[in-house]
Amino acid sequence: MDFGPHLMLAMLEGAVTAAILALTAMGLSVVFGVMRVVNVAHGEFYMLGAVIAWFVASTLGTHPAVGFVAALVIAPLLVGALAALIDITVLQRIGYDPERTIVATIGLLYILQQGTLMTFGPDARPVAPPFNTRLALPFVEWGENGLALYWPWGLSITSYKLFVTAAAAVILIALWLFMTRTRAGLIMRATQQDSAMARAFGIPVAKVYALVFGLGAALAAMGAVLVVPIQQAHYLMGGDPLLLSFIVVIIGGLGSLPGTVIAALLIGMSDGVISVFFSPTLAKILATLAVAMVLVFRPQGLLGKKPQ
């Protein structure tokens, strides 16, 4: 393949990565925005979403589409409920102290990950995509009669991957409408701005926190259900999304939702492009160092506002 089609393929793959990443990172960002805690176990909620999707799809065992739709409903609900339960039993009891929360969620990370290893096992398991037709894509070239379309060999994408990007966009728009147009969203934003004042106005802040923590985990689980027909479910799959979500949330500005989406697009696309042309390990080294440097020299993130 020439450079042009190659780049286009990399960007299409990057768009899929960016879509999943936007969902997962949005979960982390919502939790940080409202509750001001960093959830290190976020990647494990993602992993649980994928594993539950496999359980649902293989239990139903009918047409892949039925199993997939069922998983898309059941996995986020279960993972969200588990996260809310964890919030009530652990995080609420340590008063959301920032450092103790990180230590506790590191503990939860190992509990969830190793618990999955004991039940689900060490194997990677696939989930069949609900539909999966290969679509060849054209590219332009400068031919004898001026610009002409041609179909380079290998430049194609599956219908499922296109669906993933569309679905992620729909979910994110729904989340945005929820946050800005509903009463529950208003309560969440009020709690985010001033939890003491929200409490004074009779908002049950503890319940809001539990729901927000559940919502954050459910978003990660949704991302995982969408990704599991492309990648297999595995008990260690939470590590990379956690790292990338951190990167996205930090670059986008901790707690800034539009910043998170823009950063997810930026990171997802560049991750796709860089790992096509360079060694993925080198790409990761540069990405982690870049994040560390952003935190050191611009702690409010590239798009975040300076604290007043």
């Binding site: 960093v38 920032p98 190793q114 790292l243 935190l295």
Partner: protein, 311 residues
């Protein structure tokens, strides 16, 4: 002689006697635990005394480990010069990353250290032709000796570990009672007040982090030298979590807490890995239970309730 120093000497004497009393299997474990306890003591200097919660100390452990192992493997250095390389490597890495990371505080500091350590781990994987990545490489028995003492023998290994442990314990015991150590505790307790009293807080935090990283690096070098193996898994996230776990369990800001925590966790994981592959489950459960019910750790609680002079 004061009570803390006497206690430290009693612990060292007890550890020396333990080699002749315990069965081979347990004295072998104890040698490993002492090296890990040195690592945790280094971590404790930053976290327990200065209040710097780092999630990236594996970077310093690995800097020492690779500083020794790579210079022995590829430059054919003997043990003592290789230890010097390890010392310089870990101090340098701690100095540079510390200067950058200490511009941040709180949660950002934790994430920055985590990211630096992750970059270090990936770097070890990237230079796979030298480090052999996760698989690692073995240091041949012939080079693992200092002044004719075979460090791969049970006795040589145990007493080398004990010497390293004792020296570190006595240095840290003296350091935290000296004015410098006192100001570190002051920074941990109330940084604004320490600044107001005129201490150069930023420089002292940096010095504490460099000392902490160097001790951790020496533990990493000793691990490679005594157990004859260096691999990238020692640079990965779990090895940043272990010292945190040991220190939290034993008691942050106590001189002997790291040893107590290391002994407990080592045997807990050792016992549970006989039952299941998912032995890190135990580490997770202990972390959650500690934050919920015993935030001061074993010795911290002991000191608060019953033994106020405990160092």
């Amino acid at each position: 002689m004061n009570r803390p120093l006497a206690l430290h000497l009693v612990v060292i004497a007890a550890l020396a006697a333990a080699f002749f009393v315990l069965p081979d299997y347990h004295s072998g474990n104890l040698a490993r635990i002492m090296v890990l306890a040195v690592y945790a003591m280094g971590y404790n200097l930053a976290f327990g005394y200065t209040g710097l919660l780092s999630l990236g100390h594996a970077l310093f452990f690995a800097a020492g480990m690779y500083g020794l192992a790579l210079s022995m493997q590829h430059l054919s250095l003997t043990a003592i010069p290789a230890l010097m390389v390890a010392l310089i490597a870990s101090a340098l890495v701690a100095g540079i990353t510390g200067a950058l990371a200490l511009r941040t505080r709180g949660v950002a500091f934790m994430i920055v250290t985590l990211m630096f350590a992750q970059a270090g781990y990936l770097t070890a994987l990237y230079f796979v032709q030298y480090t052999r990545g996760d698989e690692g490489f073995v240091l041949p028995q012939a080079v693992r000796q200092i002044a004719g003492v075979d460090l791969s023998s049970a006795m040589g290994r145990y007493f080398a570990a004990l010497i390293l442990f004792s020296v570190t314990l006595l240095i840290i015991g003296a350091l935290v009672r000296a004015p410098f150590g006192r100001t570190l505790i002051a920074i941990r307790e109330n940084e604004a007040r320490a600044t107001m009293l005129g201490y150069d807080v930023q420089r002292r935090k940096w010095l504490a982090l460099v000392a902490s990283g160097t001790i951790s690096g020496m533990a990493g070098a000793a691990y490679a030298l005594l157990f004859g193996y260096a691999g990238a898994s020692f640079a990965a996230v779990p090895y940043s979590i272990f010292p945190l776990l040991y220190v939290l369990l034993g008691g942050a800001g106590t001189t002997l807490g790291p040893l107590v925590g290391a002994v407990f966790m080592f045997y807990l994981i050792d016992l549970s890995s006989g039952v299941t592959d998912a032995y890190m489950l135990v580490a997770g459960v202990v972390l959650v239970l500690l934050t919920l019910f015993l935030p001061q750790g074993l010795l911290g609680t002991l000191r608060k309730r019953w033994v106020p002079w405990l160092p």
